[in-house]
C-alpha cells in the first residue's frame, strides 16, 4: 500500500487498521438497531398506555407492535454476532493487504446497512404501532388491518439484514502461509 503524501487524509484512511473499520461496523449494526427499536417502542408504548386506560382489552393484543419493534433490535444483535465471527487474526505483515482492507470495509458497510435499515424500520413500525393502538381502542376491527401494514413495515428491516449478511460474506482475510 502506497500513499502519495504521508500527511494526507488518504494516507490516514488507508493506514487505519481494517480491524477498526470492522469493529465500528459491528458497533453500528447493533447500536443503531437498538436505537431504532427503542425509538419505536417508546412511540408505540406511550400511545398504548394512554389508549389502554379507556380500553384495557387492547393491551395484550397490541404487545405485538412492541414485539415487532423488539425484533428490529434482535436483527441487529444477530447481524452483529454474524459479523464478529468474520473477524480473524492476520499477522502484521498482511494487515494492510488489499484482501484485509476489503474484509474490513465490507464488515463496516454491512454494519451501516443493517444499522440504518433497522433504525428507520424501527421508527416506521413504532409510528404504525402507535396508530394501531389508538385505532384498536376505538374500533377493534381495525386491528388486523393495521397489523398487515405493520408487517410490511417490519419487512423493511429484513431487507437490510439480508443485504448486510450477503455483504459480510465478502469478508475474507488473507491466510498466513
Amino acid at each position: 500500500m502506497r500513499a502519495a503524501d504521508s500527511s494526507s487524509w488518504r494516507h490516514a484512511l488507508l493506514y487505519i487498521s481494517p480491524y477498526t473499520f470492522a469493529a465500528i461496523g459491528i458497533a453500528i449494526s447493533i447500536g443503531v438497531s437498538v436505537l431504532g427499536a427503542s425509538w419505536g417502542i417508546y412511540v408505540t408504548g406511550s400511545s398504548l398506555i394512554g389508549a389502554a386506560i379507556k380500553a384495557p382489552r387492547i393491551t395484550s393484543k397490541n404487545l405485538i407492535s412492541v414485539i415487532f419493534c423488539e425484533a428490529v433490535a434482535i436483527y441487529g444483535v444477530i447481524v452483529a454476532i454474524i459479523l464478529q465471527t468474520k473477524l480473524e487474526s492476520v499477522t502484521r505483515d498482511y494487515q494492510h493487504t488489499a484482501e484485509s482492507m476489503r474484509a474490513g470495509y465490507s464488515i463496516f458497510a454491512s454494519g451501516i446497512i443493517v444499522g440504518f435499515a433497522n433504525l428507520v424500520c424501527g421508527i416506521c413500525v413504532g409510528v404504525i404501532g402507535s396508530s394501531c393502538a389508538l385505532s384498536d381502542a376505538q374500533n377493534s376491527t381495525l386491528f388486523v388491518k393495521i397489523l398487515v401494514i405493520e408487517i410490511f413495515g417490519s419487512a423493511l428491516g429484513l431487507f437490510g439484514v439480508i443485504v448486510g449478511i450477503i455483504m459480510s460474506a465478502q469478508a475474507t482475510w488473507p491466510k498466513a502461509t
Partner: protein, 351 residues
C-alpha cells in the same frame, strides 16, 4: 419540522393524546341521542346517561332532578377530564390547554360585570360562571365601575391582561361597551391563540389555524348580525373583526357595510367553504344560523381526530363536550317543559 412530528411528538404528547382519544370514545352517539329523545322525565334521562361516561357524575343526584343539575354535573365531567389532562401536560401542551380556557374566562368576566351592572347578587352570578373559566379573585370583578378599574383591580393578574390593551377607557361600563369589551378581548385572544398555534407548527399549526379561522369568521358574522340596527358604527364594527380567517380582509370590508342579514349572507356566501352553511337555511331566517354554524364546527372538529400527533384533538375534545352538554341541556329542557316534538330541532349529532 412539518411531517416529522411522528418522531418526537410522543415523548411529551403521546400518552395524553391517547387518553383524550379514549375520552372521545366515551361521547354520546346517535343511538344515545335517539334513546334520550324517547325519555319522558328527567329521571329517565338520568337512567340513560348512567350507562355512559356521565354515569358516576349523575349517580348521586337526588330526585327531583332539574335541568340545571344535569348540566352542572355533566360540565363537572368535562372540567375533571380537562384538569386531569392539564396536570399531566408539559410545555407547550399545558400552555395550549390553558389557551383553551381563556375564552371561558372572558365570558365569565363579562357575565359578572353585566350582572353587577344590573345589580344582581354576586354569589348567584358566580354559580352561573363556567367552571373552566374561574380564576382567583373573580368575585371582585363585580366591584369595578369602569374598564381601567377592572383592569387595575382584577385582570392585571389574569392571563387576560395583555388582551386588555385594546379596550382600556375610563368610560363607565354600560351594556354597549361591555359587549364591545367582550368582542375586543375575544379578538385579541383569538389572534394570540392563532399566533401561538402557528408557532407550534406542523399538523397542530395547520389544523388549529383552520379551526381558529373558522371561529374568527363565525364571530365576525355574528358580530355583524347582532350589530345591525344598533348604534355601533361601521368603523367600530370593523375593529372587532379578528385579523385572520378566510374572510380577512376583503370579506370584512363587505361585512362592515352590511345593513341587513341578507347582505351578510351575500357577503359570506362568496366563500365556498361557507356556502353549505347558508344553503341549509332560508332567506331571512337568521336564528337557524347558529345551529348551522355549530353543525359545521362539529364536522370540522371531528375531522381533527383523523390525524395523529397534534394538539388539535385536545381543543376538539373540549369543544365537542361543550356541544354535547348544550345538546343535553336542550333535551332536558324539552323533556322538562313537555316539548318533546322540538327535541330534534336543537341537537347537533356528534357521532
Amino acid at each position: 419540522m412539518y411531517g416529522f412530528e411522528a418522531l418526537t411528538f410522543n415523548i411529551h404528547g403521546g400518552f395524553l393524546e391517547a387518553i383524550v382519544r379514549g375520552f372521545r370514545s366515551g361521547m354520546l352517539t346517535t343511538a344515545d341521542y335517539n334513546n334520550l329523545s324517547q325519555c319522558e322525565t328527567l329521571d329517565d334521562i338520568k337512567m340513560h346517561l348512567s350507562a355512559t361516561d356521565y354515569g358516576p357524575y349523575l349517580q348521586n343526584e337526588p330526585s327531583p332532578l332539574h335541568t340545571t343539575n344535569i348540566v352542572e354535573r355533566c360540565t363537572q365531567k368535562l372540567v375533571d377530564d380537562y384538569n386531569s389532562l392539564l396536570v399531566q401536560a408539559t410545555e407547550p401542551l399545558s400552555k395550549f390547554l390553558e389557551y383553551i380556557t381563556y375564552g371561558y374566562i372572558i365570558d365569565n368576566v363579562v357575565l359578572i360585570v353585566t350582572g353587577a351592572l344590573h345589580e344582581r347578587d354576586v354569589q348567584e352570578l358566580l354559580e352561573k360562571c363556567h367552571p373552566l373559566g374561574m380564576f382567583d379573585g373573580i368575585a371582585t370583578v363585580a366591584a369595578a365601575h369602569n374598564m381601567a378599574e377592572l383592569y387595575r383591580l382584577v385582570l392585571v393578574d389574569t392571563p387576560l391582561a395583555p388582551y386588555f390593551s385594546g379596550c382600556i377607557t375610563s368610560e363607565d361600563l354600560d351594556d354597549m361597551n361591555i359587549e364591545i369589551m367582550r368582542n375586543t378581548l375575544y379578538k385579541a385572544y383569538l389572534e394570540d391563540f392563532y399566533t401561538f398555534c402557528k408557532k407550534l407548527g406542523g399538523a397542530t399549526g395547520e389544523l388549529m389555524c383552520d379551526l381558529l379561522a373558522f371561529e374568527a369568521d363565525r364571530r365576525a358574522v355574528n358580530i355583524t348580525i347582532n350589530s345591525i340596527g344598533t348604534e355601533l358604527t361601521r368603523d367600530d364594527r370593523r375593529k372587532l373583526y379578528s385579523s385572520f380567517g378566510l374572510l380577512y380582509p376583503y370579506g370584512h370590508e363587505e361585512l362592515a357595510l352590511c345593513d341587513d342579514p341578507d347582505q351578510v349572507r351575500a357577503a359570506v356566501e362568496k366563500y365556498p367553504p361557507y356556502q353549505p352553511i347558508f344553503a341549509k337555511i332560508e332567506y331571512g331566517e337568521s336564528q337557524m344560523l347558529d345551529k348551522a354554524f355549530y353543525e359545521e364546527e362539529v364536522k370540522r372538529l371531528i375531522l381533527t381526530f383523523e390525524q395523529q400527533f397534534h394538539y388539535a384533538v385536545f381543543f376538539a375534545y373540549v369543544r365537542l363536550r361543550e356541544q354535547e352538554i348544550r345538546n343535553l341541556m336542550w333535551i332536558s329542557e324539552c323533556v322538562a317543559q313537555n316539548q318533546k316534538n322540538r327535541i330534534h330541532d336543537g341537537i347537533v349529532m356528534i357521532f
